[in-house]
């Protein structure tokens, strides 16, 4: 059977080799092995998390561990929900995440628009100063940032235990501005000039021309903004110390010492569910955002 083999799409092992009987056996056994190992390694712990939250305290710390809950107790989840005040933690995290998203969209989009299309005097210098912050490791600045949040210069207000302590630093995201500016750069100037001649102002041009054309990049920026707040740990722990203001991460950590193992696992499972659903729903956008540009080296 003569098959025209297109060499441009081949990978390490050629199709011809894979189609031989021995190649097929090797291919399928490696595939099945990988599937089993990956499912065990990456889904297995999640299975243990969800089912661990269905066990009784005695069963959760039983040796050897049980592979499935012998006595299903959904009550563990409701205990976790009330005992760790998860409703409050979840609401807080949602408020922080969506507030940060909104502020980032408003301020970072308008900044990127200014850099890309309005091009003010010293614009490149300011952009450079923003991009330079990407070189500074986040953990190094956490102490001076904390002291700034406690006592904001000039205004002398304390942002601790207010959402602003999470919202405002999230806007200082040079990566967002970089991504957005680069996308805006690719929008033809002629389009904006035409609108300008028709009498549209800068805000109108941004709203009616630039934004509708930039949906793909805005969705990437939005997803990363939400995920970043959801995953952040140390900054929310420091910035929102009051138990009623904490995020899921910080709240579960703070209470982790005093609750039984099964309740703690149930709380973790509850905190993980929104991100898992979010990921499954937006996985295409997330992975496209992650590997955008196909990295031609």
């Amino acid at each position: 059977m003569a098959v025209a083999v297109d060499t441009s799409t081949r990978t390490l092992v050629s199709r011809v080799q894979l189609n031989r009987p021995r190649g097929r056996i090797v291919y399928w056994s490696v595939l099945v092995l990988t599937l089993v190992v990956f499912t065990l390694v990456f889904i297995g712990p999640l299975y243990m998390m969800v089912t661990g939250g269905l066990k009784t305290t005695a069963e959760a710390i039983q040796s050897p561990p049980t592979l499935y809950p012998h006595k299903i107790t959904p009550g563990t989840y409701s205990t976790a929900w009330t005992q760790l005040n998860l409703a409050k933690l979840l609401t807080n995290t949602l408020i922080y995440a969506f507030g940060a998203l909104l502020l980032q969209l408003v301020f970072d989009i308008s900044a990127a628009y200014a850099f890309s299309k309005l091009r003010p005097v010293l614009g490149n210098l300011v952009l450079g100063a923003m991009l330079a912050t990407l070189m500074i490791p986040a953990m190094v600045l956490i102490v001076p940032q904390y002291l700034t949040a406690i006592d904001v210069p000039i205004l002398h207000v304390n942002l601790l235990n207010t959402p602003w302590a999470i919202w405002l630093p999230s806007v200082a995201n040079a990566f967002n501005i970089f991504l957005l500016k680069r996308f805006f750069d690719s929008i033809p100037q002629e389009l904006l000039d035409a609108a300008s001649i028709d009498g549209a102002g800068s805000i109108r041009i941004l709203w009616s021309i630039v934004l509708p054309m930039s949906r793909p990049i805005i969705s990437v920026v939005s997803i990363f903004a939400l995920v970043a707040v959801w995953k952040d740990f140390l900054w929310p722990l420091l910035a929102e110390p009051s138990p009623t203001k904490q995020t899921l991460n910080a709240g579960i950590y703070s209470l982790s010492q005093g609750v039984p193992e099964n309740v703690l696992i149930a709380a973790s499972a509850i905190s993980a569910v929104p991100t898992i659903l979010f990921f499954l729903f937006f996985q295409r956008n997330i992975m496209a955002g992650l590997t955008a540009g196909s990295l031609k080296g």
């Binding site: 953990m139 703690l264 898992i276 590997t291």
Partner: protein, 316 residues
């Protein structure tokens, strides 16, 4: 993750800058354009000023200062002397470097070979990608609480598995010999998805003709990896190496949550960032915290500069 995103974007060639034609002499028009532009910038400028630029300057200044009885004094190199003489200093650097080394071995090398294997599959590709990236999306405390549960020497899953296959069980987080290894395993599980997907994207850009030519020349699979795959992904490999070094040397969350506070048994999981945290938030010694942060910054900036140099070359 942020670091990885940076890598992705900087490797794309930027568009050529567009110059708007300026009308000579139209001063008012220029002024209005600039005022409106800075109006658009003001929100970002304030946030960067307060939470990036000002803290950078302050970090530097504070490392030469000390707070005494509510008054700030310049103390020269005192803070640096203090952290240098802290017995935890050497231990923290050793732990951090040990973590970095192990994390690279697992989190840098393994994803590359995982990506090579995944790239050969014609089935279940979407499933495998989703599965490997799923832990990256989880809230870190959820993953770490779970791993802490698995590491328990009395009722943990891991010792049960070791016992079941006839291997000696370990004390994991409760022994200074294995605690850092336990931290690395959890950290790799949580983070390897990002690197894997980036490698996978890089592998898809390798022209098939190169493998074909190598095979015709009689190269086996390992030689093809050595002579085609690695040279073709060299830039991505070197950039990810820099980024991962910078990211792993800032390790904090994993030991902090796994060992309920960060030190571990006999300081075996104390890292540099944990030491910074301890100076600042347990002892309110902001001077020492800043000095140590500055030292870490100097070490990391070397890697960041190498990264920039490499990514510049990638853009050309």
């Amino acid at each position: 993750m942020a670091a990885i995103e940076v890598l992705v974007s900087t490797t794309e060639p930027g568009p050529t800058p567009r110059r708007t034609p300026r009308r000579q002499g139209d001063f008012v028009r220029e002024l209005r354009r600039n005022v409106s532009a800075y109006g658009f910038l003001i929100g970002a400028l304030l946030c960067f000023g307060l939470f990036s630029w000002y803290p950078m300057v302050r970090e530097f200044i504070m490392s030469f200062q000390k707070q005494k009885l509510g008054r700030t004094q310049w103390v020269g190199m005192h803070n640096f002397n203090q952290i240098w003489n802290d017995p935890s200093f050497g231990q923290a650097w050793r732990n951090t470097l040990y973590f970095t080394l192990l994390a690279l071995l697992l989190g840098y090398v393994v994803p590359f070979f995982v990506a090579i294997v995944l790239n050969e599959f014609r089935h279940a590709r979407a499933y495998l990608r989703v599965v490997v990236y799923l832990p990256v999306m989880l809230p870190p405390v959820a993953s770490l609480v779970l791993f802490q549960y698995f590491y328990n020497p009395e009722y943990g899953l891991f010792d049960h598995i070791l016992h079941a296959v006839g291997l000696p069980t370990l004390q994991w987080l409760q022994s200074p010999n294995t605690s850092m290894i336990a931290v690395v395993i959890a950290s790799t599980w949580m983070n390897m998805g990002g690197a894997t997907l980036i490698y996978l994207a890089a592998l898809q850009g390798i022209p098939g003709e190169l493998y074909e030519a190598a095979e015709i020349d009689g190269a086996g699979i390992l030689r093809r990896i050595w002579h085609v795959t690695i040279p073709q992904t060299r830039l991505i490999l070197s950039m990810l190496l820099m980024l991962q070094i910078v990211a792993t040397m800032q390790v904090f969350v994993e030991p902090f949550v796994l060992t309920n506070g960060g030190q571990g048994v006999d300081n075996s999981t104390t890292t540099i960032v944990y030491l910074v945290y301890q100076y600042a938030f347990n002892f309110s010694n902001y001077g020492a915290a800043s000095a140590l942060g500055l030292l870490l910054l100097l070490v990391l900036i070397v890697f960041a500069l190498i990264y920039r140099w490499v990514s510049r070359r990638a853009e050309q």
